[in-house]
């Protein structure tokens, strides 16, 4: 059966977010994946740095994650969406003059991965900034989930190597985790192709 729905269209190309998005996005509330005071809430703080370790003051960090039970509020999760309890799982934070971003969220649960694998708790991250003609993608894993991390199929990816594997781990700090993103250089973050 042939129908218009079976044509293949090339995706619209990406262009940079530029420096002047702050009046349009993000909304101030989007830094809160969960409301302040939520039981088990954690802060994720970090800095976005360029190839000379200077702060990127005009960046945008976006996050997407499952809930603490490892479920998504999304119909393409074959397990079906969980009952809506107001948790969407999306957050975003512009960086400030020091390149700093901060999100308040809860730690996601483990997820089924390809084959029989289990993915360790993680948060998918998009990085946008002036000078990035398309987004960069990385993941936040949690440094204190050693057992789950050891079994995670992405963290075990051979091409990653140990140094970049370390760059995917957020370090526990008081009240949450620290996760710096380095765009370029010897301690460049592990950026993923999806």
């Amino acid at each position: 059966m042939s129908s218009p729905a079976e044509q293949t269209l090339a995706p619209t190309p990406s262009q940079t977010i530029g420096p002047f998005f702050g009046f349009a996005l993000p909304l101030a509330s989007e830094r809160f994946v969960v409301p302040a005071g939520t039981n088990g809430a954690i802060s994720i703080v970090g800095r976005l740095l360029d190839g000379e370790h200077q702060p990127v003051a005009d960046g945008l960090i976006e996050t997407w994650q499952a809930n603490p039970e490892g479920r998504f509020y999304h119909p393409d999760d074959p397990r079906g969406p969980f009952e809506g309890d107001g948790f969407r799982g999306f957050g975003r934070s512009a960086t400030d003059g020091g390149g700093r971003f901060e999100l308040l969220t809860v730690k996601p649960g483990c997820l089924p991965g390809p084959g029989d694998t289990t993915q360790a708790p993680h948060i998918a991250v998009s990085v946008f900034a002036r000078g990035l003609l398309q987004r960069l993608v990385t993941r936040i894993y949690f440094g204190d989930e050693e057992e789950a991390n050891a079994a995670d199929p992405v963290l075990s990816t051979l091409q990653l190597g140990e140094s970049r594997r370390q760059r995917l781990l957020a370090a526990p700090i008081d009240g949450g985790y620290r996760f710096d993103i380095v765009l370029q250089g010897p301690d460049e973050s592990a950026f993923l192709s999806i």
Partner: protein, 258 residues
């Protein structure tokens, strides 16, 4: 938020969910965007110099985190947010335009109820942003930010003014072609897109390293809206049409079996 609907071509949610990985039927998004997107390292655009990664990206398979993504409900978006010329106490300066089109996936299917955010300079080429030092006038009646959800057919419609060109410090006498920034979510993290839309026949195209970073002429042309006489409204506004395509997913065995 209302209950979201599953992608029809995936069929019903898999009934035999049996534990980690087993029976997991996920869409897999084609990676053809890599053929069309601009590179990270593009020296003509100086901003890329210290911001492009030097090591190759590490490919990972699509997992649940990539094939899902934030969904937004109509109750979160005001229809007034799609009219950038209203709500600021007066009529903005400039040529009023209707910008409309459809959001499709790479298989030609409309993407309904997906969020589009836009932002732009005013008619004089000045952003409502403290970092914009271009000495063109701000317009008290125009901030230049809007958002809307596509309808059930993937259609969207904004009312705004045509933005002006503005200078930037990239090189001597550098001016950006007039453009509107667009942010789209689709329905999956894999489909997230931020891009810029340009206007037909802009004389700045050949001098602009951001536009030219899209290396194939046909791809650049897909960043240019078209004048739309049908959408042009007498005594009021010019019409422009711009369709946006987000990555499509591979057709599933389920779908091919039909």
């Amino acid at each position: 938020m209302k209950e979201p609907e599953r992608s029809a071509e995936l069929g019903p949610a898999h009934p035999l969910w049996a534990g980690p990985g087993e029976g997991l039927v996920l869409p897999s998004y084609r990676r053809d965007h890599e053929l069309h997107d601009p590179p990270y390292d593009w020296p003509e655009y100086r901003g890329t110099l210290l911001r492009h990664p030097r090591r190759p990206l590490v490919p990972i398979p699509d997992t649940l985190s990539e094939v899902t993504g934030p969904l937004f409900g109509a109750d979160e978006i005001s229809p007034a947010d799609a009219d950038l010329t209203a709500g600021h106490g007066g009529e903005p300066q400039g040529q009023k335009i209707v910008l409309h089109g459809r959001v499709l996936d790479g298989n030609g299917k409309p993407i309904p109820e997906t969020l589009i955010e836009i932002w732009q300079a005013n008619a004089a080429g000045r952003y409502w942003h403290s970092g914009d030092r271009h000495p063109a006038p701000l317009d008290p009646y125009f901030t230049g930010a809007g958002r809307c959800l596509t309808d059930s057919q993937g259609r969207y419609r904004f009312i705004t003014v045509r933005p002006g060109s503005y200078p930037w410090g990239n090189h001597f006498n550098a001016w950006r072609p007039a453009h509107i920034h667009l942010s789209l979510f689709g329905r999956a993290f894999a489909q997230r897109l931020i891009t810029q839309m340009y206007f037909p026949g802009d004389p700045m195209f050949e001098f602009d390293p951001i536009f030219q970073s899209v290396r194939d002429r046909r791809d650049r042309e897909r960043l240019i809206c078209e004048f739309d006489f049908e959408a042009t409204t007498p005594e009021w506004a010019l019409g422009y049409r711009f369709d946006i395509v987000l990555r499509g997913h591979d057709r599933t065995p389920f779908e091919e079996g039909r």
